[in-house]
């Protein structure tokens, strides 16, 4: 088996509080794939993304890049491997610099001659669909869509291998979200990128990712290929999340699973399975014992004591999908 590009092992990130934003998460990102991370507020998906690019230090566990801990690397070398496009792209651009300066900044930081590399940056602008006129504007003078493209261009100037996009379509109208997703896909092909896409929009995730990880209150609850996870979610939370997305076509509507209760505060996560307070299929064991990740199909794992599984002995008495309607 080839070495994964990124290997996350037992990663926990604890903020003062204590707030266990990410709690014992392990997963791999293979070179060239697109991994989606979905979850609601407090799930820790953004913290996970920021920890991979070393904006947060792991409290325990580690993030390994090609088999080596990210913190053992030369800082500048590591920055050329992994980049992040922030959720709020407009405010991720330093407000007093022009777009040209913003695009030169990564080259300057890495001591690369601007004259030598500028042609490449101009080519990138073309590929991203940014007109040259934008170069002499300030961030507050460009549209939201352009700010997003500038942020993507900046991240790609250093030719990273991993690009993390935090909520790439949040706040975009549907009429232009397709453009952005097409762009990301095109860039992946032309630059051989590996993607980690963090989003709460399940339609987007289903459409553009190869594999999906579902997080809830800092825990990874399910991971698997996009096809298998969307068609046969094993964790009741994943199933509810998928069913919660509204569908236009009345004939294609899935039975809704309306979860009861609120998302608990990550400052006081419930014991046992974190999801047990809202789960329709909760049993005594769920309230005390933290379920470990377990394989349920090829490349499909979930952390649930009683997952929805079509044909396993243990799963036979589990409630069928959609029974909580």
């Amino acid at each position: 088996m080839p070495l994964p590009l990124v290997a996350i092992r037992n990663l926990s990130v604890v903020f003062p509080g204590p707030l266990r934003a990410v709690d014992d998460v392990s997963l791999d990102i293979a070179a060239g794939e697109t991994l989606g991370v979905v979850g609601e507020s407090g799930s820790g998906k953004s913290t996970l993304a920021k920890t991979i690019v070393d904006l947060h230090r792991p409290t325990s566990g580690q993030v390994m890049f090609e088999g080596q801990s990210s913190q053992a690397f030369d800082r500048l070398w590591f920055r050329r491997q992994a980049q992040l496009v922030f959720q709020d792209a407009a405010s991720s651009l330093s407000p007093r610099l022009t777009v040209r300066q913003l695009l030169e900044e990564p080259l300057r930081i890495h001591g690369l001659a601007i004259g030598e590399h500028w042609a490449g940056v101009r080519g990138l602008l073309g590929a991203i669909g940014l007109p040259a006129q934008v170069l002499d504007k300030y961030p507050h003078q460009v549209s939201g869509g352009q700010a997003r493209r500038i942020a993507i261009a900046r991240a790609l100037v250093l030719k990273p291998r991993l690009l993390i996009a935090d909520e790439p379509t949040a706040g975009l109208d549907v009429s232009i979200q397709g453009d952005l997703l097409n762009l990301l896909r095109g860039l992946q092909q032309s630059f051989g990128l590996t993607y980690l896409i963090v989003s709460h929009n399940l339609n987007v995730i289903r459409r553009v990712t190869d594999r999906v990880a579902v997080m809830y209150l800092g825990k990874l609850v399910e991971i698997g290929s996009t096809k298998s996870l969307f068609s046969r979610p094993a964790h009741p939370y994943a199933a509810a999340l998928i069913a919660a997305g509204p569908v236009i076509d009345p004939l294609r509507r899935r039975p809704r699973i309306v979860l009861r209760g609120e998302i608990p505060s990550p400052l006081r996560p419930p014991p046992g399975c974190r999801f047990h307070t809202r789960c329709h299929f909760v049993r005594d064991r769920c309230r005390v014992e933290v379920p470990p990740m377990a394989r349920i199909a090829e490349g499909h794992e979930t952390a649930c004591h009683f997952p929805f599984v079509a044909s396993s002995e243990e799963g036979s008495d589990a409630a069928p999908l959609g029974a909580g309607v």
Binding site: D88, S91, S92, S94, P95, H110, A155
Partner: protein, 277 residues
Amino acid sequence: MSTIFSHIWRSSTGRFGLILAVAIIGSAAFAPWLAGDPNRIDVFNRFAGPSWQHWMGTDHLGRDLFSRILHGARIAMEVAAAVTAIALSLGTVLGVAAGYGPRQVERPILILFDILYSFPNLIFALALVAILGPGLDNVVIIVAMTVMPHFGRIARAQVLRLKHAPFLEAERVLGASTARIVFRHVIPNIAGPLIVVAGMEVPAVITIEAGLSFLGLGARPPLASWGTLLHDGYTYLSQSGWPVFFAGMMLTTATLAFTLFGEALRDAIDPRLRMDP
């Protein structure tokens, strides 16, 4: 830059302050060419009233008051510029260090600010003069120390506001060092409020300098500072009221001009009051 200027120009008080401030700075800069020797003694012409020869009259040694007042403006402007420059740079460095640095750096700086802040300006200045001795250079250092925490606190508050801004995190992800982030991205973005504070501090600095010089702790005779002019004027008030009148006028005008200008500058830069980008 031009938008800030036009914003100031559009407010009538701002325009008034700006014109007066420019006039004062200009007359201070060109004092040697605009007026004669401020120290030429003419004992036969003491306590003269305003005339064509001496526009503001003469003092107890027969020196030309107009010339002394213009040279006084020079001292006031020099002190104000030096104090603001020192306080602004030192306050910014300490404030940014406190805001951006670790807790071990932040604590002692905040304690220093609190100590400097807790003394009333003039009394603190008097105490420092007692230690350092009188003289204009010492006045500059002393006044800079008393107003520095103001800049420092503003700088720290602005840094704390920015500290977790996505654009700073984005620079870190690109690999920027802390020094690069501070100088290229933090300081340019906190400069606005600091410049506003600088503008607002100038009249206060002018007053403190005049006060210390009045008490004989700043500019020493025969140097013409508005404070010493006032002091000499009071001493000989029974002979002539003109020195006190003109020196007091000038001090008041300068304070008013820089206050109006500072307020207009604040309105122009402060985004909360600004209408359109």
